[in-house]
Amino acid sequence: MGIQLLRMKSSWDSVALAPPDQIFHLNQLYLEDKSTSKISLVIGAYRDDDGKPYVFKIVRKVEEEMMKDHLNKEYLQMEGDADFRAGAKKLVFGDDPKLLERIVTVQALSGTGALRLGGTFLSYAAPKGAKIYISDPTWPNHMLVFKQSGLTNQAFYPYYDAAKNALNFDGMMGELSKAEPGSIVLLHGCAHNPTGIDPTKEQWKEIVTLCKKKGLIPFIDLAYQGFATGSLENDAFAVRLFVAEGLNIVVAQSFAKNAGLYNERVGAFHVVCPDVEIAKKVFSNIQIDIRGMYSNPPAHGARIIGRILKTPAYFEEWKEELKSVSERIQKMRKLLFDELIALKTPGVWDHILHQIGMFSYTGLTEAQCTWMKEKHHVYLLKSGRASMAGINTKNVKYLANAIHDAVANNPKKQQAP
């Protein structure tokens, strides 16, 4: 009591302690865990077969080259590095100059920064009070980023069929059919996070048709291009389909995963406009948004990507590395699946094989996930989302045994009829 009186009154006494971000918090617990067999399947960050962080060889090579060039540290333009923007745009949308000239591309602070710019743009460009439809489930930060940017009218469309561990396509289409014209639909361009379940090509065609018919604004989050199937082209299928069908979409693009540039914060935000004149207006508005937030983006990571994308030999090297990292993930999926089958773990585990990208929605319940954490020091989100990148040939058996043990001791409760 005496100490309370002595303490000076602060302007900030009423500031509440914010709850920690669930993903970072869980990873922090993992980091503090002293067990030697601990495994983290928490963060969507690639690991090599030794469980080590991985820096792309082509990135190291380009960084060394940049050092020899003694580049200055001048401000980039608000919209970012020119080579980077040109390359990022082509990567997503292809080569047609008539199309590219009506697409606004700005450098952003990785995927999150692009989403934030997108949310801000749509908060004044979309019809007032427009609703944004987000998949249930999705990356938890989506809702918060959009809320902060002014898109406070949010709704969810069904996405995941838990019983079948598959896409709930009917549910999704049903909900989106009810959307008002001018509503925004957030879609994952490939490798849906957290489920790893993507629509088929046919299903994408139906989604595109629906968006056209209903006058919806597609907002595509493209965080795993090249990382999902190993092919940059394949992973851009959905985005390019929307554009080919005449829809003017917005895209948030990240190079965190596919170039392993997590902490350099490299991304881009794109707006496909009806024509060049409108593109100019849109561009000038987004420049102002950027200026008021942070003036201009960080140079280092964008310069690396810019160089890779504009140098054919580097681009090829990058593609090769991307293929090999995504192949390792696919191999781990197969290994885990095989182990679970060999152990005769109750349940169906095919989804681990078929899901795409870094994550798997394992189907494990919260109780099972907690069991794995406490008994086996295996960390994954309580939703059952596991980052396959955390699996390697040395820990896959241990992981499979942990899953088996968790499932055996925590049977799934039957759904009430």
């Binding site: 303490r7 001048e74 401000y75 003017n248 937030m293 140079a299 280092h300």
Partner: protein, 431 residues
């Protein structure tokens, strides 16, 4: 289509809307119709005009970026060496903690508050340079102070203070007098008078050193008086320190205002930039500090700042942070940095002295001492908007129309031309 026809079409359109009972906006490409051409701030506009100018003698005194005597950007040697070390360490590219690179955060705190200060009471996060720090700080204040809070920006100030405040959504944005344009000096009485009228918890933005655009800073005695008023009226100061080490070449001296506030135990925010003083413009490296009265509020503040960062761009870029951390942790690199800062700020000082002298020699009407005495990158010349326009149009010497010049654009090759041009626009007000 003439106006009458447009109105008719619009009328039919509105009728259809009513009949069909739903928003046909999407048919009219609604997303695009609401987007109007946007107006950029003056710094960018003037810099663009300069770029397009084809005159061989053109000079830009617009932007606050350092140039060598050869008009080249300057890459600090300590920065290059730090980068080499980083390359040799084969650092990974893993996500930084949300509040930033931890060694950077420690170093940034020490630089601002000094080695002997108890930084347990300081909540610090890495930010996207100074702009990011001001944006994040104002966002926090917007969220946690009452909506009727007034925000006071000096008149004049860096234009972006207003743009950022607008972007954040602040409504009660006011100015306080700062500059006496007759005396070309600080309007100290004006500052005091205005601050004395403010309600408690009003936010007052102050430039910690090297005021932008005037280059005029309060003296230590004047700072003390300002601090007394801040304490008396329970105001919340937000110090923007973009030029520590760059103003006088001395970190401690340039931070003396901030440290005066800190010594008086005033709760405040400090926005810190490494754009100029480490030449790391494009790497976007800065920090936001909350100096608090008690350690117990540090954790809650940090947690809220982290949420704001997470929902804006998730986490900070590594490259610039690591460079600064390396420099600050290594005695040799730190000494090198201090030496280089003395050199660059020395060059600026030299150009100030010479320009002032040359105008004196030309017998340009007026007193040009202020150019020599002002501090930092910028000088408020005292030229009128029409004189500035003539400087641009006739002599292709670019500056802001409030008379601000960036001394960094002056060098031994162009200083005579600049002096003669200024002389011309002063003695020949008519074109």
């Amino acid at each position: 289509m003439c106006i009458r026809d447009r109105r008719r079409v619009h009328g039919i359109y509105k009728m259809l809307n009513r009949i069909l009972g739903r928003n046909l906006g999407f048919l009219r490409r609604a997303l695009w119709d609401k987007v109007q051409p946007a107006e950029m701030d003056s710094i960018i506009t003037f810099q663009e005009k300069f770029k397009e100018d084809k005159d061989p003698q053109k000079v830009s005194l617009v932007r606050g970026v350092y140039r060598t005597n050869e008009e080249k950007p300057y890459l600090f040697k300590c920065v290059e060496l730090a980068e080499k070390r980083m390359a040799n360490s084969h650092l990974d590219k893993e996500y930084l903690p949300v509040d930033g690179e931890q060694n950077f955060v420690k170093a940034a705190k020490r630089l601002v508050f000094g080695d002997d200060f108890n930084t347990e009471k300081v909540a610090t996060v890495q930010t996207l340079s100074g702009t990011g720090a001001v944006n994040l700080g104002l966002n926090f204040l917007y969220r946690f102070l009452p909506p009727e809070t007034g925000y006071y920006i000096p008149d004049p100030s860096w234009p972006l203070h207003f743009s950022i405040a607008k972007e954040v959504g602040l409504r009660n944005i006011f100015t306080y007098p700062y500059y006496d344009n007759k005396k070309v000096a600080l309007n100290f009485d004006g500052i005091k008078a205005k601050l004395l009228t403010l309600k408690p918890k009003s936010v007052v933005i102050l430039h910690a050193c090297a005021h932008n655009p005037t280059g005029i800073d309060p003296t230590p005695v004047q700072w003390k008086a300002i601090i007394d008023i801040v304490k008396e009226k329970k105001l919340l100061p937000f110090l923007d320190m973009a030029y520590q080490g760059f103003a006088t070449g001395d970190f401690d001296r340039d931070a003396s205002a901030v440290r005066l506030f800190a010594k008086e135990d005033v709760e405040m925010l400090v926005a810190q930039s490494f754009a100029k003083n480490a030449g790391l413009y494009g790497e976007r490296i800065g920090a936001l500090h909350f100096l608090c009265k008690s350690e117990s509020v540090v954790k809650p503040i940090l947690s809220q700042l982290k949420v704001m960062i997470r929902t804006s761009y998730s986490s900070n870029p590594m490259h610039g942070a690591k460079i600064v951390a390396q420099i600050c942790e290594n005695k040799e690199l730190f000494e090198m940095w201090k030496e280089e800062l003395k050199t660059v700020s020395g060059r600026i000082q030299e150009m100030r002295v010479q320009l002032s002298q040359k105008l004196g020699l030309l017998k340009t009407p007026g007193n040009w001492d202020h150019i020599r005495k002002q501090i930092g990158m910028f000088s408020y010349t005292g030229l009128t908007p029409s004189q500035c326009q003539k400087l641009i149009d006739k002599h292709h010497v670019y500056l802001l129309n409030n008379g601000r010049i960036s001394i960094t654009g002056i060098n031994l090759k162009n200083i005579d031309y600049i002096a003669k041009s200024i002389h011309d626009v002063v003695i020949n007000p008519q074109t």
